[in-house]
């Protein structure tokens, strides 16, 4: 049996008296593209912060390729290949696009590898060469998102966590970015976990969906199964219609 890339068991998180997550369990297989969806307040962002290591869970454990990383700091998870983006793009605004990517490359590759060549590869792969010497404030939102993905996959990446990376993009921009993400999955075997709150956006790109509602998992299956799931439909629409619309 293949060791899951990520395995969450009974993850819970409290903020004082407020329960943000309760008993969340699911696993992600290597090379899979998994979507995590849920309405606002479902606990997606909290879950994302816990998986990436920016927030410690109050209960439960996380295994990364079989190893317990529940208490591993975020920078060590990144160095081990567990990479993430942010809901609101967070680039280093005083650095050029090239420097943003170089920073991550230099944290994650062995000293004997040529980091400049690695940076050039990432820029080329995401077609960002023309923007390389620009500051983040001088490029479009779509390119900013690409730079953030570039920074996330730079050097060494096995699992990529994308937090609402498609939001704010026009339809052609979103389509292009989905293409880039799927190419990363296909060509490099990177496991992808995408968090979104719009089911129809995710349905086209993921193989499996996990649905969060009221702090816990209410469905786990293929997009088609999830779209017809009674609880999901009620959570999203409050009626018994197809959640994909």
């Amino acid at each position: 049996m293949t060791t899951p890339a990520l395995e969450l068991t009974g993850i819970g998180r409290r903020f004082g008296g407020l329960v943000a997550l309760h008993g969340v369990s699911f696993s992600v297989q290597p090379g899979e593209v998994l979507g995590v969806i849920g309405p606002n307040g479902a606990g997606k962002s909290t879950l994302f912060e816990i998986i990436s290591g920016n927030l410690a869970p109050s209960a439960g454990s996380i295994r990364y390729f079989g190893e317990d990383c529940t208490r591993t700091p975020m920078h060590l998870r990144r160095r081990a290949g567990l990479c993430r983006t942010f809901q609101k793009v967070r680039l280093f605004e005083s650095m050029t696009v090239r420097e943003n990517i170089a920073l991550a490359v230099r944290q994650t590759i062995p000293a004997d590898r040529d980091w400049r060549a690695e940076v050039a590869l990432v820029l080329e792969r995401l077609r960002l060469q023309a923007q390389a010497e620009r500051l983040p404030s001088q490029i479009t939102l779509a390119d900013r998102k690409k730079v953030e993905i570039g920074r996330a996959i730079a050097g060494h990446c096995r699992v990529l966590l994308l937090d609402e990376s498609l939001s704010g993009l026009t339809h052609p921009e979103a389509t292009e970015l989905i293409g880039e993400i799927l190419a990363l999955n296909r060509d490099s075997g990177i496991t992808v976990v995408v968090v979104e709150h719009v089911l129809s956006v995710l349905a086209a790109m993921v193989q499996r969906l996990v649905v969060l509602h009221n702090t816990t998992v209410i469905a786990d299956g293929t997009p088609s199964e999830v779209a017809h799931n009674k609880e999901v439909i009620e959570a999203y629409l409050g009626t018994r219609r197809n959640a994909l619309g």
Partner: protein, 329 residues
């Protein structure tokens, strides 16, 4: 941030003038001893001020950690050097390194406790440490001279004791400090560590998500800056021949240490050099003008007003202002 790029272009533009500045500095070296002692002393004050600003610029300008407690390291550099000389006859050449070691120890503890908190909380924590050292310096009268401060035992012109009746030798020492600190700043800015410091300054969470060891980066920057401040503190003591709690640990000193970089351009190698030079020149000119006109005290007002105008007109410092001018053309 376009301003940041402008600043970098500006810094590069200013850097192109470096060979000219170096030639100029070498050319005036033989003339330094022939300048009036007043100008010599003012220049030494400027050089010390610049060196201290360069040290603070490492942690705050490049690393983004607003330390208001760097007076602690200036004070430790001065007090340790002075106490070792006065009480044990250890020359400042060696004593200052003891000051650096003590400063590093204090910075390690201080950084360990305060660098985990961010922004204004870190700044306030460093103020608290400064106040604690101020009280310690006042309390241990036998060692530090208490409120009156510590006066260096004067032995006359001596290379061994790093003492001189004229400011001339300190000109060379001060110049050496500024050049060395400029070089260190450039090296950091061009290194992987410099990139990590800038990343932490821009966004700590994103830096950690990119694999940067945030706390270690902040602490290392703090230690380097503390050591540089303490080392410059040795020169400060030898030149002024005395140190007291207010001059070392007071809030006024903490603010003064920041001004060269703030006025010249935070996070740039040239910023503290230009800012410190401008400030001392301004201070001397306003002081001279007020004395000539018989308006004692007005100089401080004019000095403050001019600084205010500089900050309002050039919030990104002189380097930022120069680069914008270049961009306008």
């Amino acid at each position: 941030m376009a301003i940041a790029l402008d600043q970098r272009r500006g810094a590069r533009g200013v850097a192109r003038l470096l060979p000219l500045a170096a030639i100029g500095a070498v050319a005036i070296l033989p003339a330094l001893p022939f300048l009036s002692p007043y100008i010599q002393a003012a220049t030494v004050r400027a050089l010390i001020f610049i060196a201290l600003g360069q040290a603070w610029n490492i942690v705050a300008g490049i690393g983004g950690q607003l330390s208001l407690g760097h007076g602690v390291f200036l004070g430790l550099g001065c007090y340790v050097t002075g106490i070792l000389f006065n009480q044990f006859g250890i020359p400042p050449w060696l004593g200052v390194w003891a000051g650096v070691v003590v400063s590093l120890g204090v910075a390690l503890v201080m950084g360990g406790m305060t660098l985990r908190v961010r922004g204004i909380f870190f700044a306030l924590a460093t103020v608290a440490v400064s106040l604690a050292f101020d009280q310690l310096a006042r309390h241990f009268v036998g060692l530090t001279g208490g409120d009156n401060g510590l006066a260096l035992r004067f032995v006359g012109d001596s290379l061994w004791a790093m003492q001189s009746r004229t400011p001339a030798p300190f000109l060379y020492a001060g110049l050496l400090f500024v050049i060395a600190y400029y070089w260190i700043t450039q090296r950091i800015l061009g290194s992987r560590f410099g990139l990590e410091m800038r990343a932490v300054r821009d966004d700590e969470t994103a830096a950690a998500a990119a694999g940067v060891r945030v706390f270690r980066t902040k602490l290392l920057g703090f230690l380097i800056s503390a050591a540089m401040t303490a080392l410059a503190g040795g020169l400060y003591l030898q030149f002024y021949q005395a140190i007291d709690p207010e001059s070392a640990f007071g809030l006024g000193t903490a603010i003064q240490l920041q001004l060269p970089a703030l006025i010249g351009g935070l996070g740039t190698a040239w910023g503290p050099v230009l800012g410190g030079g401008l400030m001392i020149a301004l201070s001397e000119v306003t002081n001279w003008g007020a004395t000539k006109l018989g308006l004692v005290g007005v100089d401080v007002l004019v000095y403050g007003l001019v600084l205010l105008l500089v900050v309002l007109w050039a919030p990104q410092g002189i380097v930022g202002m120069l680069s914008r001018r270049r961009g306008d053309r």
